[in-house]
Amino acid sequence: MIYGVMRIIDFSHTDRMTIAAYLFADLNRPLGIYAAMAIACISAALLAVVTERGLFAGLRRRGYAVMMICSLGLSIILQSIMAITHGSMLRTGVIREYPLTNFLNLYPREIVLLFGVPLVILCLRRLLHNTYWGQSLRATIDDYEKAIVHRLPVARLTMIAFAISGILAGASGIAIIIGTGVYPQVGFKYLIFAFAACIVGGVGNIVGALLASLTIGILITAAEFYGSALAAEGVTLLVLVAVLVFAPNGVFGHGLRRI
């Protein structure tokens, strides 16, 4: 969504994910799991909106290259702040998880994600297709200049896009810190995978991105099993390059747009 409205990769997006993860870890014990989750997600959304309003809105006129460089700079600043405040160690053990033996040894977190993610995708699709704001946002993503001409509230729509992405980033951060833990620079790794999923799935295609993410995860695990962990991430990116060469619009680029 950010790429759609801004036409740039926001390098600081996954750092907001990491910030939400640390917030959740810090607030979990004093406030409880649900309050900590809510605060983490809302904080990530607020940070996203502040970033858009405070940084990108003013830079739009200067061009995409300037916005991307600034987003990269912001990412480094955020990582440095996290390293200073939380150290560089992997932060784990926020919640002790136990596999549910009756459910394929899945963790409760994984079961929530298994059912929650498709639900969120469906809700997001509904929002984008069946509401005024959603349709306006899609129009802005499709053609920003035309949206301005048609007097759509593009500034507000951009804020909404950032806010939604912030909430989703927050939820991702919480899932990651419970699962394998986070460290200040973890965002960059996930940014690459997220971008790869968007490219492979087709830019602007939410369901395609979901399917591509699953594919990438399976590819990485398979590469670790059959080969070397060192090559696993490289293999995934090789697939990305191949897709870009043979199907620049993504595997599901236009085909699944109507799903």
């Binding site: 390293a83 150290g87 560089s88 160690m89 992997l90 784990t92 053990g93 002790r96 998880e97 136990y98 596999p99 040894n105 963790y107 990651i176 394998t180 833990g181 460290y183 620079q185 973890v186 790794k189 996930y190 995860g217 990485i220 695990t221 398979a222 590469a223 670790e224 099993f225 070397s228 962990a229 060192l230 696993a232 991430e233």
Partner: protein, 382 residues
């Protein structure tokens, strides 16, 4: 120009040159007289990047040692300056050159065997003396040609201890998981050698990367071969996540690891899945008050239990300091003095063989058990 003015200019220039020459001579004399007034050491640690946390732990331990020495007004004061290597070989060499340019001749740590190896030619050429608390690559002593020392058993010793243990337990097939960097690869190679010598079959080997996001594939790989035990040569936080996955996939096997699995990192990630994990750990100081005093100080100062890195950082500063004081801070004399040292450290007794290699003491065999709500290390019993 008239002669008077010419003579005046020549006189002024002569006075300036004379003052300069005299000041240089006086400074050299001062330097000679004041040689051991302060022991200056450089410490090359990774303070950013993926192993920055270990660099920080070492620095914490070293700082405690510095403060302790400097509190004693009767001792020669010590100054340790930290240089960030970002865990990169070329950066480490640049930092060593920088330290050398700034007058440092004693180096208490170049973190990372690869990094230390890369710096050895420069150290040898320029008469530096390096003492490491963590570099374990077996050939560093030989390659160091007297310039490099360490107070940690090398990989060969650690791996041999683990393989011997598995053999005593009747284990026939083992799996090895190692982190794909110089440290992990070194331990894996030595364990592989030791296993072959003791006729223990290494049935499966899997590598992992630092901060790997999922270990599902790695554990599935281990499960694909029948193994009685798995040896983990990985960092403790990743190790905790791996052990959690082993537990989840119900891979029923003994788990062995080295002393870096002591401390909270592994337990925080693995939780109760860490119960039963077996560690071979160098025996700590026999003087239990030394270790407990150090632990108290460390907890007071940093609010966390000291890891092996902090302990080795502390011991490395103390060891190099003692050698430097005894040899008047002469880096070349310090090398000979180090070889003759036999002192108790927090992490165990410190002494060196004739070739300069650290003599590993005995190892404790420990296992994680549940004590009330917490996990703790207990002596392993057959």
């Amino acid at each position: 120009m008239d002669r008077k003015r010419l003579y005046l200019i020549i006189s002024i220039l002569t006075i300036i040159v004379a003052v300069f020459v005299v000041s240089q001579v006086v400074q050299r004399q001062d330097d000679q007289v004041a040689a051991p007034s302060i022991i200056r050491m450089a410490s090359l640690l990774p303070l950013d990047g993926q192993v920055a946390s270990y660099g920080e732990m070492m620095r914490n331990g070293q700082l405690l040692a510095v403060e302790e020495i400097n509190r004693d007004s009767m001792s020669t004061p010590i100054e340790v300056t930290f240089f960030n290597t970002s865990h990169m070989k070329d950066v480490a060499l640049d930092r060593l050159r920088e330290a050398h340019q700034n007058g440092y001749r004693l180096v208490v740590e170049i973190f990372g065997s690869d990094q230390a190896n890369h710096c050895l030619p420069f150290a040898i050429e320029n008469g530096l003396t390096i003492l490491s608390g963590v570099d374990t690559r077996p050939d560093l002593i030989r390659l160091g040609k007297g310039a490099f020392y360490r107070i940690m058993p090398n990989d060969a010793a650690a791996a041999a201890i683990l393989v011997q243990w598995t053999q005593e337990l009747g284990v026939e097939n083992i799996g090895i998981v190692y982190v794909n960097d110089d440290w992990g690869k070194g331990l894996y190679e030595e364990a592989d050698n030791a296993a072959r010598q003791r006729k223990v079959n290494v049935a499966i080997v899997a590598d992992v990367i630092r901060h790997q996001s999922s270990f599902a594939g790695t554990v599935a790989k281990l499960k694909s071969n029948p193994i009685d035990a798995v040896m983990l040569f990985i960092y403790p936080d990743d190790g905790g996540n791996l052990i959690k996955e082993i537990h989840r996939q119900r891979l029923n096997t003994r788990i062995f690891a080295t002393e870096n699995f002591t401390g909270d990192d592994m337990i925080n990630a693995a939780g109760d899945a860490a119960i039963g994990v077996m560690l071979a750990v160098p025996k700590p100081s026999e003087d239990s008050t030394t270790l407990s005093q150090f632990q108290e100080q460390y907890v007071d100062r940093y609010g966390a239990d000291p890891s092996i890195f902090a302990i080795k950082g502390y011991d490395a500063v103390k060891t190099l300091y003692i050698a430097a004081v005894q040899s008047g801070a002469d880096p070349l004399k310090t090398r000979e003095t180090i070889r003759d040292l036999a002192i108790p450290g927090v992490g165990g007794f410190i002494s060196f063989a004739e070739d300069g290699e650290f003599i590993p003491g005995e190892y404790d065999r420990l296992v994680y058990t549940k004590e009330g709500e917490n996990l703790a290390l207990s002596p392993w019993t057959p």
